[in-house]
């Protein structure tokens, strides 16, 4: 898995490429935690190139969402692939995350 980072003074965009599973979720965890701790409270996670996510990855996203909500920030996802979206549906995460199909839409609302 690879992570890309784009930081502006209004928001941060994190891009995930490849598989997010139990062997590599730690990198994402660290990245997100660092960002939140340094007061970046508007984060967009672009999942366009994310082929796979398992429960470990889902937990990291959930944790980040909780932490940002506490500081009244915004945590948004976009570009979920079809299979991935189904995973979010099965797990019920579609009801708690703000998910947008495209980056542009997401940025408008962030």
């Amino acid at each position: 898995m690879e992570l890309t980072e784009q930081i502006t003074d209004q928001y941060v965009i994190i891009g995930i490429t490849g598989r997010l599973d139990t062997t590599n979720y730690m990198a994402l965890e660290k990245k997100l935690m660092d960002l939140i701790e340094s007061h970046h409270d508007k984060i967009l996670v672009d999942c366009l190139n994310m082929d796979y996510i398992s429960s470990s990855g889902l937990r990291i996203l959930l944790m980040a969402l909780k932490k940002i909500t506490l500081v009244k920030g915004r945590f948004v996802l976009c570009g979920l692939q079809e299979n991935i979206h189904e995973i979010f549906e099965i797990s019920g995460f579609t009801s708690i995350f703000e998910i947008h199909p495209s980056r542009e839409d997401a940025l408008k609302l962030i």
Binding site: D21, T22, T23, S56, R59, L62, M63, I90
Partner: protein
């Protein structure tokens, strides 16, 4: 009084018993000695007292008897004084009347004179025989009595007063002698008690002496009563005068009446009284005891004597008590004095003995303190040189000795306990270091055990996975036992684990270990060692035997043989030693058994060795068992052999079996099996294999993702939550293509029982990475994405079977 005295003693003992609250006092020396002393004194003083009492009682009795007898006689004499003239006068007169010359008138005149002078006689009568006085009078009895100072005379006799029938006339006539009649109340006048003394009168007529009549004297008995009243002896002693028939004439106690003394005795007295009275009535004189005369019975004495002529009896009665009265009061005083002195004696003795025993009591207290562990308890100081002081000194010496001894003992014990506890810790560390997770791929079976002779041992076994396909097994024996050997052994083990890496030949590993061991080996210890690296896929083992006893191979065809290869010297001898390696290929079904010489050199009570031959024979018989059973049964045989004898050396066994390949189901083209270690990193093998199969089996990408996701979730659950130990475990994943559109997944692990079907998902949104909830979300995916989910618990394994349609 005696009773009272006796009771005093009893009372005293009772008082002593209850008044003293401390029972220990009663058991103490002071009390015992005092009591003993007291009893002795009591016996010494009691004896003369008893004797004295007896003697004085006897003396008093004799004195009383004398006194009473004298008084009785005196009183009787007084009676007789009174009686004598009464008898004499008629006697003379009657004598005179025999002479016919004397006229009766003359006689009468004298008699009347007598009556007026005598105080006691108050009447006289001269009664004649029928018609004797004159022919006209049948009865003729001139009678004179004195009343109120004057004489009154009349003639008695008539039909209403037929005096011939009366006793005072009849009896003297019959008996020819004077008679005193029984007392009676004077009915004629006065109501005084009286009796009559009648004398028969005779006349000599015609040469014959014929009875002519009776001359009577009426005697008033009040005079006697006065005499009797005067009788006084002791305090309440009194006299009693009774007639010949027992009628009471005079007595201060009883009113003279018709009641006889015999009646009284019968009514009021007991047998002794009746007997005494009988004696008295018999006219005897004497002194006897009786119980009381009236209704009150108390012991009395009776002194009695007969009154002559009248046939009366006189008795003096006095209570026994009064006789001894003086003696009793004397005794009373004596016993009080006695009692007081005894009491003083007792108190003094008690105090004295307590004084004596006080140092002993103090010594007892001090000794008790010593007994409780206080060896510095101060002993009482004694200035004197007596036995108690000697005892105290001896105690002091003993106390010092005890103190030192205990101190030494404590120090030694503490030191010993310290060593033992540290040994225990060392034992636990050593035992803890032995790997115990015997999980192997399913076509292999491993077991090992180590039984140290002492708390810590010099033997070792070890096994570990270099990677999923390579297992290293090792066994070793340090020359020596106990802590030094075990330390050396731990170093060897550490080196083995450090140096054995994939790819390095085993003999070079051995050389490396050997150099290290020789490097710092001041005590010149060495270790025999055997290590082998087994390729779990091929069944080939590369080994190095450094001076260790040959392993046994239990095979299917040849049954048993030894791997007789030596690749070098024991480790730790020469730092430049070189080692070769050997090769062995497992035939499916074969077991390799590594041992140390603790088995062959085990002794029984007869000092025989177990020996190589016995070991070979035992192993042969156990060839068909699994590794665990084989090991445990061999240990059992060894224990039976050496039963009773102390274990001489550590006993170590490691058994590894390459299972018969025929047991494994063949891998068909439609089945793929992955054997994975319980590490998360193994996940990539699953991912890779699914990718591979997706092409061959034409699985669409969505299904591929789902299958991968499901397998990841289940696999990671097992890795994180199925095992409590830190050991290596094997997890098998099997993927079967049942048909073009159905895939079956089978996951098997040997972890804790866990049935995913029973898990509730719980609140997913509450779960964080840190919470140790068993992957509820993952299981949710499994249930959602798979068509069918089955769980079985098979032996020690969890088996999950999933079916997926695509």
């Amino acid at each position: 009084m005696i009773i009272f005295y006796l009771y005093r003693e009893k009372l005293k003992s009772i008082v002593l018993h209850f008044r003293f609250p401390r029972l220990t006092f009663l058991r103490g020396l002071a009390f015992r000695y005092s009591l003993f002393f007291l009893i002795a004194i009591l016996m010494i003083l009691f004896f003369p007292l008893v004797v004295g009492y007896g003697t004085s009682a006897a003396l008093l009795f004799i004195k009383a008897q004398k006194e009473a007898t004298i008084l009785t006689d005196q009183t009787v004499a007084q009676f007789e004084n009174v009686i004598q003239p009464i008898e004499l006068v008629p006697k003379i007169l009657v004598q005179a009347m025999e002479n016919p010359a004397i006229s009766y008138a003359e006689i009468l005149r004298i008699a009347r004179d007598f009556v007026s002078h005598d105080t006691v006689v108050f009447g006289t009568c001269l009664a004649f025989e029928p018609y004797f006085h004159d022919e006209e009078n049948y009865w003729y009895a001139p009678y004179t009595c004195e009343r109120t100072g004057n004489l009154h005379s009349r003639i008695l006799g008539g039909p209403s007063y037929d005096y011939f029938k009366m006793d005072w006339y009849r009896l003297p006539k019959l008996l020819n002698r004077p008679v005193w009649t029984e007392p009676y109340f004077d009915a004629g006048g006065g109501d005084t008690l009286m009796c009559t003394f009648s004398t028969p009168v005779y006349r000599k007529l015609d040469g014959k002496r014929i009875f002519t009549g009776v001359l009577t004297m009426d005697v008033s008995l009040t005079g006697f009563a006065r005499i009797v009243k005067k009788v006084n002896i002791f305090k309440t002693g009194y006299g009693i005068l009774v007639s010949g028939q027992g009628k009471i004439i005079a007595s201060p106690k009883a009113t003279p009446g018709d009641q006889t003394i015999v009646d009284l005795a019968k009514a009021g007295g007991g047998k002794s009284t009746q007997r005494a009275i009988r004696e008295m009535m018999a006219g005897n004189s004497g002194f006897t005891s009786m119980d009381g005369l009236d209704a009150k019975k108390f012991p009395s004495f009776l002194s009695y004597a007969p009154v002559a002529k009248t046939g009366w009896s006189f008795g003096i009665i006095f209570p026994e008590e009064e006789l001894y009265e003086d003696m009793y009061s004397f005794l009373k005083i004596m016993s009080w004095m006695f009692g007081i002195s005894i009491f003083i004696l007792l108190v003094t003795t008690v105090l004295l003995t307590r004084r004596m025993t006080r140092p002993i009591v103090r010594l007892v207290e001090a000794t008790r303190k010593i007994g409780q562990g206080n060896f510095n308890a101060p002993l009482p100081v004694r200035k004197s040189r007596d036995e108690v002081a000697q005892l105290t000194n001896a105690f002091g010496v003993m106390q010092d000795e005890l103190r030192n001894y205990i101190q030494n003992l404590e120090e030694t014990t503490t030191a010993k306990e310290k060593i033992e506890s540290e040994l225990k810790v060392a034992h636990n560390i050593q035992m803890g270091m032995l790997p115990r997770g015997f999980s192997t791929p399913e076509n292999w079976d491993l077991f090992a055990t180590l039984d140290p002779a002492k708390a810590v041992g010099g033997d070792l076994y070890d096994f570990f996975y270099l990677d999923a396909d390579h297992l290293c097994i090792a066994i070793g024996d340090v020359a020596g036992k106990g802590v030094p050997a075990s330390l050396f052994m731990m170093v060897t083990r550490t080196l083995l684990r450090a140096k054995t890496v994939s790819g390095t030949p085993i003999n070079l590993v051995m050389e490396s270990i050997n150099r290290e061991l020789c490097h710092d080996n001041p005590s010149q210890m060495f270790v025999t060692f055997f290590a082998g690296i087994v390729d779990l896929k091929t069944g080939e083992m590369e080994f190095c035997n450094a001076g260790h006893n040959y392993p046994y191979i239990l095979g299917t065809a040849e049954k048993i043989h030894q791997l007789k290869v030596r690749n070098g010297l024991p480790l730790g001898i020469f730092d430049t030693a070189e080692y070769t390696s050997g090769r062995f290929k497992f035939i499916p079904g074969e077991i390799i058994v590594l041992t140390t010489d603790g088995i062959t050199e085990a002794l029984n009570q007869a000092n025989d060795f177990f020996g190589e031959a016995k070991l070979a024979a035992s192993l042969t018989s156990l060839a068909n068992k699994n590794s665990k059973a084989l090991t445990e049964l061999l240990i059992g045989e060894l224990k039976r052999f050496s039963s009773g004898a102390e274990q001489a050396d550590d006993i170590t066994i490691l058994a590894l079996q390459y299972k018969d390949a025929a047991n494994r189901p063949p891998e068909s083209g439609q089945t793929v099996r992955l054997t994975l270690l319980n590490q998360v990193t193994e996940l990539e093998k699953i991912v890779g294999k699914i990718e591979e199969l997706s092409g061959d089996w034409k699985i669409p990408s969505k299904a591929v993702m789902e299958i991968t996701l499901v397998l990841e979730e289940l696999f990671t659950n097992v890795v994180f939550y199925a095992f409590d130990d830190q050991e290596t475990h094997y997890i098998t994943v099997e993927i079967n293509l049942l048909d073009d559109h159905t895939l079956q997944l089978r996951l098997e692990d040997d972890g804790k029982p866990f049935n995913l079907l029973e898990q509730e998902m719980g609140d997913v949104f509450e779960q964080t990475i840190d919470e140790r909830q068993v992957g509820g979300l993952g299981i949710h995916f499994v249930k959602e994405m798979m068509k069918n989910v089955e769980y079985q618990r098979s032996g020690n394994n969890n088996v999950v079977i999933l079916t997926k349609n695509f």
